[in-house]
Structures are given as structure tokens and as C-alpha cells.
């Protein structure tokens, strides 16, 4: 290709304070504790592809999505958008070309605004033509739905409004944060199909965040698996699903309820705390193949064929 990927991150980091540190705490020498939501994540997304970002709650998926649309500022590492490093003064330029759709449309859209105002808001002024066009693209009718409030619409329709709002500015890149997990199965299928059509029509690039592997398999070209703030495996969707390499990915695949397989074999134990992650590889307390080195040193991201995997088994 030769072209720069539309999104590229190098060791991107975002840490949050676990609790407030007041003056007294400071006087008594209380040390701040950090939640390492995104810890040294390096990914690339090519123009026109869908990267599925899979992980359990608290693995840092949403934070990574927010970093990419500049809703959060990174605490370290580099972020390149269309080949240019994103610095403070580049943020307005990036925001012209990115959008995000959230999980629960009822709480992410202003309940007191009408549908047409919600959709035109990102434009900064009301443009009936563009609102009408965006609504038609997501299967809503300007005349029928334009003056309604979100609560007057069904779950599937409200999510369509959120998608119309995301595409009205004709962005290049959209972060979709669990856009279908609040929907019934039949509505989920409708919204996924719509997203696929829009991507073709508008030549979009997606980061699709989900904890549902079947949905990720359906929609993504490549997938990244996140665990405790780190990307542990990363590659072509068919390869990762057919032959998962990282032990966490393997066990994740065996936890998914799938038609045709009656038994589930989940990993034992719980997701670790992001305040005090275990030393070495973060998956080591739950890993069936744990070795001595896993408890001491964090594995680097290794390239195996076209795949990237952070695991000592492949060194």
C-alpha cells in the first residue's frame, strides 16, 4: 500500500487517579494510586478496515476508543492520525474527521432535543438537507421522526439516530463502542447490517469495541484482544478466531456461548485489578501454561507470521 495507516499509536498510555488526593493526604505522604486503563498500546488501523477491539469490562477498551477520538488526552506515547502526530493544536483538525457512537443511546443523546437537532448539532448550524440525507442513510424518515424526542423512539431507532449523528459530518473514522449490546437479537442484526452498508457507502474506517466475539467476527477485518489495559493479541479476524495464540484468547473463545458447542471452558479466577496489576505478564495468575519468566518479565509484542502476540510461549 505504502500509504500511512489512518490510525497509528505507539505505546499509548492513559492512567487515571484511583482516588482523590487531598492536602491532608499529601501532608501525610499518601502516594497516589493509578489505574492503568491503557498501558503501552501500539496499534494500526488501515483506511477502510474495521478493527474489532475485544475485551472484558475494565480492560480499557472504551478508554482506548476515547483516546483515538481525542475525548481523552494520553499520558504517554504517540498517536498519529493520517500520518501526522496528534498534538494539542491538531485536535480540532482530528475532531473534524472522527466520531463516536456509545453503548446506551438513551443516555448519550440529549433527551430534551428533537432528533433533527441532535443530528445537526455536530455541524454547528442547522442544515436540513444534510440532516435529511443522514437520516435517510440510517433508515429514518425526516418527516416522521425528525421532530420526535429520543424517548418516543424504540431502542433500535435511537441507536440509528446516534449513528446518523456520527455520520452527518462525513467523518473518515468512527469509534463504535458496543453499539448493539443494549439491543435485542433481531435489532442487533439490523444495526450491524446498517453499519456494514454505511461503511461501504461512505468509505469509513471503524474501531468496533465489543465484548461479543460473534459480533466482532461478523463485522471486523482484524481484531485486537485487550486484557487488563494491554493488547495481548492482534491480527486477521479469521486467523485469530481459527487459531488463537495467546492463552487468554484461547480461553476467551472457549467461554463464548456458541450454537453447536454445549460446553464452556472459561479461564479460572478474576480479571486483575488495574491499580496493582500482577508483575510480569498480567495474565499469569490465570494462565494454564504459566512459566517462571511470566511472573517476572512482561512479554514484548512479538510478530508471528502476520500476527502479533504478547506471550512468552512464542519467544
Amino acid at each position: 500500500m505504502g500509504m500511512a495507516p489512518i490510525i497509528k499509536t505507539e505505546n499509548l498510555r492513559k492512567y487515571y487517579l484511583a482516588y482523590k488526593i487531598g492536602l491532608l493526604d499529601r501532608l501525610f505522604g499518601k502516594k497516589p494510586a493509578w489505574v492503568r486503563a491503557v498501558d503501552n498500546v501500539s496499534i494500526e488501523i488501515e483506511e477502510g478496515e474495521t478493527l474489532g477491539l475485544i475485551g472484558e469490562s475494565g480492560s480499557g477498551k472504551t478508554t482506548l476508543g476515547k483516546l483515538l477520538v481525542t475525548l481523552e488526552k494520553p499520558d504517554g506515547g504517540k498517536y498519529y492520525f493520517m500520518g501526522e502526530e496528534v498534538t494539542e493544536d491538531k485536535i480540532p483538525w482530528v475532531r473534524q474527521q472522527v466520531a463516536m457512537v456509545f453503548q446506551n443511546p438513551y443516555s448519550s443523546l440529549n433527551p430534551r432535543m428533537s432528533v433533527k437537532d441532535i443530528i445537526s448539532e455536530p455541524l454547528g448550524h442547522f442544515d436540513e438537507g444534510r440532516v435529511r440525507e443522514a437520516m435517510e442513510m440510517v433508515g429514518l424518515n425526516y418527516r416522521e421522526h425528525g421532530n420526535k424526542r429520543p424517548r418516543e423512539l424504540s431502542g433500535g431507532q435511537v441507536q440509528r439516530v446516534a449513528i446518523a449523528r456520527a455520520i452527518v459530518k462525513r467523518p473518515r473514522f468512527i469509534v463504535l463502542d458496543e453499539p448493539t449490546s443494549a439491543l435485542d437479537a433481531s435489532l442487533q442484526a439490523q444495526v450491524l447490517n446498517l453499519l456494514m452498508d454505511l461503511k461501504e457507502e461512505l468509505k469509513l474506517t471503524y474501531l468496533f469495541i465489543t465484548h461479543n466475539l460473534a459480533v466482532a467476527y461478523y463485522i471486523a477485518d482484524r481484531v485486537a484482544i485487550m486484557y487488563a489495559g494491554k493488547v495481548v493479541e492482534y491480527g486477521d479476524v479469521d486467523e485469530v478466531f481459527k487459531k488463537p495464540m495467546h492463552p487468554y484468547t484461547q480461553l476467551l473463545m472457549k467461554s463464548i456461548p456458541t450454537i453447536g458447542r454445549k460446553t464452556l471452558e472459561p479461564p479460572t479466577g478474576e480479571v486483575p485489578s488495574l491499580i496493582n496489576p500482577p508483575p510480569g505478564c498480567r495474565f499469569n495468575p490465570r494462565c494454564p501454561y504459566v512459566m517462571d519468566i511470566c511472573r517476572e518479565r512482561e512479554p514484548e509484542m512479538l510478530s508471528v507470521d502476520k500476527r502479533k502476540v504478547a506471550c512468552w510461549l512464542y519467544k
Binding site: E56, S57, S154, G156, D184, A185, S186, L187, Q188, A189, Q190, L192, N193, M196, H211, N212, L213, A214, V215, Y217, Y218, F241, L251, L252, K254, S255, I256, P257, T258, I259, G260, R261, K262, T263, L264, E265, P266, P267, T268, G269, E270, V271
Partner: protein, 326 residues
């Protein structure tokens, strides 16, 4: 037969008139069966569960019979019903935040469950034994430090943790009938898988009957031995899990299954997901005839005027004009 539901009607009185939610539901559940109750939101799944546990809201109107071990639960007084709750019928609610007492510790509530279990099975209550049972149940639910969790109040726990405490309570009480209303929707996939395995163990070891209410067909497939499909408060299809998933007969069931992104279906290339057009009907304004007819691809004239009866086909019960009756 452990649980036998006969001609169950449930309605809700509202200012806009009475909503008829469950309409002539008949269901037999045997010991050790896990019945997946599936359907879209607003199909009456939760109402069915709540009717069995007798925890319906005050404006509900119920008629019919719910027989458990030969006793009609609907005829019991509230005081008598108390004796059946917990050890005979136990319900796990969808919203975990309202299912525990906010001013008692987790340990207190689990030990209370252990006491009830001991008293009802004729044992003498021993506090040490109750503590042990509570700790063991928490360990079974993969709490890394159960002693600490015992001292916590519900508000100090996350939704997933509370749901697991409620599940721990059900492991202690070992009910004959466990009604689980979307018990894993607040949990992550790996924890969900752990919980599903525990449910299966509970039904195998204690021969508990489990009614597992969910809108996730793949999840229902994994846990259930049998599937009951509800639509607009009516049973549309009822049969063995493998046969329903492999060969769904009712057009609604076919639609539900076609809409599931299933890993096994996409081996080559990308296929478009099928979806059922439209939305489930409102109970205020149910269509005439078959309640599914406005969304059905095979709709015939008779479907619009007359509601099909439930008919039996081999080991399957189905409500559709495509399969007899007309």
C-alpha cells in the same frame, strides 16, 4: 412432574385498562430439566418467572394453576408462600442491585440462607456450619477472598459481584425450582461461562429444575435441555434444545435464530444477518389472529383472523397455522 403450570393468565391493571400479558400458558417442567425461556423484550418472559415465584407487582391479576409437588402456589396465603420461597422456588432477578438487603452484610444474608436451608431440611442450626457453607458458596463463585466479601455491604460491591452473591445464595438454598431472569447480563463472558457451568452442576447434582430466562439464543442453547419460545405472552414453540435450534419450525423461532451472529455460520465470506422486520406488539394493542402475523413472512388469510392453537408434532409443541389446525 415437579412444576406444572395450567391455563395461566396474567394481566396488569393500568389506567389504560387491563393489559393481558400471559395468555393460557401451559408448561410442565421435570426434575433436572433446564428450560431456556427465550423471546424478545416485552414478550412476557419475566412476568412468567415472577408469577411462579409469586413476586408480581400489586396490580397484577392472575388466574390458573401453578402446581409444585402437588400444591397450587396461587392458592397459598402470603404466609404459607414464605415457606416455599427460597428452598422450593428461588428467583434470581435481572437487576442485582435490588435483590439484597442494603443494610445487612453479605455474610449475614448468606448465613441467613444457610439457616433456612438447615431448618427446613430438619438439621440443627450451627453458626460455624452456616459460615462454612457461605464461604464455600462464595469460593464456588470464584471470589478470590470470600472472608472479606462476607464483611461487605451490597453497595460496596459491583453489579457482577452482587449477582454472584445472589447465585451463591441459590447454591446454599439448593431450591427445587430455580428461576433465573437474565442472571448473567451484568457479567463478563468469562464469568458468565463460569456461572453457566455452576448452574449445570446445580441441576445435575441437586436435580433442581432451572427456568433460564434470556433473550440470547446462543446462551439458551448452551445451558438448556429444552427451549420454550414466548411471543406476546404466548408459547409459540416448545421442544428439545437440539431439535429447536437445528430445525426451528415456527417462523418466529426461525427469525430469532437467523439473527444470531453465529461463529459456525461464517466459515466462508461474510453473510448478511437476517432480521425479523418490525417490533413486538404492545400488549395494549395486540393484533387479531396470530399475534406474530404482522411480522411473519408466511402469513396466510387465516392467520389474520383466528389465533392458531398449540399443536403437537413429534416431541415439539407449536402454535402456527403452517403446521396443522387448518
Amino acid at each position: 412432574m415437579l412444576l406444572s403450570i395450567r391455563n395461566l393468565f396474567v394481566g396488569y391493571k393500568t389506567v389504560m385498562g387491563t393489559l393481558h400479558v400471559l395468555d393460557d400458558v401451559n408448561l410442565n417442567v421435570d426434575k433436572g430439566e433446564i428450560v431456556g425461556i427465550v423471546g424478545e423484550s416485552g414478550s412476557g418472559k419475566s412476568t412468567l418467572g415472577q408469577a411462579i415465584a409469586r413476586v408480581l407487582p400489586g396490580n397484577a391479576v392472575v388466574s390458573g394453576r401453578i402446581m409444585v409437588d402437588g400444591v397450587n402456589l396461587l392458592e397459598l396465603s402470603e404466609g404459607e408462600m414464605e415457606k416455599y420461597r427460597g428452598t422450593t422456588v428461588f428467583m434470581i432477578l435481572q437487576n442485582p442491585f435490588t435483590s439484597l438487603n442494603p443494610v445487612k452484610t453479605v455474610g449475614y444474608q448468606l448465613m441467613e440462607a444457610a439457616r433456612i436451608r438447615m431448618v427446613r431440611s430438619g438439621e440443627r442450626y450451627s453458626e460455624d456450619r452456616a459460615y462454612e457453607m457461605a464461604i464455600q458458596a462464595l469460593k464456588d463463585l470464584r471470589f478470590p477472598d470470600p472472608e472479606v466479601i462476607m464483611l461487605r455491604y451490597p453497595h460496596q460491591l459491583s453489579g457482577g459481584q452482587i449477582q454472584r452473591v445472589v447465585l451463591a445464595m441459590s447454591l446454599i438454598l439448593k431450591p427445587k425450582i430455580l428461576i433465573a431472569d437474565e442472571p448473567t447480563s451484568a457479567l463478563d463472558v468469562t464469568i458468565q461461562a463460569q456461572v453457566i457451568n455452576l448452574f449445570k452442576e446445580l441441576s445435575r447434582e441437586m436435580e433442581s429444575a432451572i427456568l433460564f430466562i434470556t433473550h440470547d439464543i446462543s446462551l439458551a442453547y448452551v445451558i438448556s435441555t429444552r427451549i420454550v419460545v414466548l411471543y406476546a405472552g404466548r408459547i409459540m414453540e416448545d421442544g428439545d434444545v437440539e431439535s429447536i435450534i437445528r430445525e426451528p419450525m415456527h417462523p418466529y423461532t426461525q427469525g430469532l435464530i437467523a439473527g444470531v451472529p453465529d461463529l459456525s455460520k461464517f466459515v466462508s465470506g461474510r453473510v448478511k444477518l437476517q432480521s425479523i422486520p418490525g417490533n413486538p406488539p404492545s400488549f395494549l394493542d395486540l393484533p387479531s389472529g396470530c399475534k406474530f402475523h404482522p411480522r411473519c413472512p408466511y402469513v396466510k388469510d387465516i392467520c389474520k383472523v383466528q389465533e392458531p392453537p398449540l399443536t403437537r408434532h413429534n416431541n415439539r409443541v407449536i402454535r402456527c397455522w403452517l403446521y396443522g389446525g387448518g
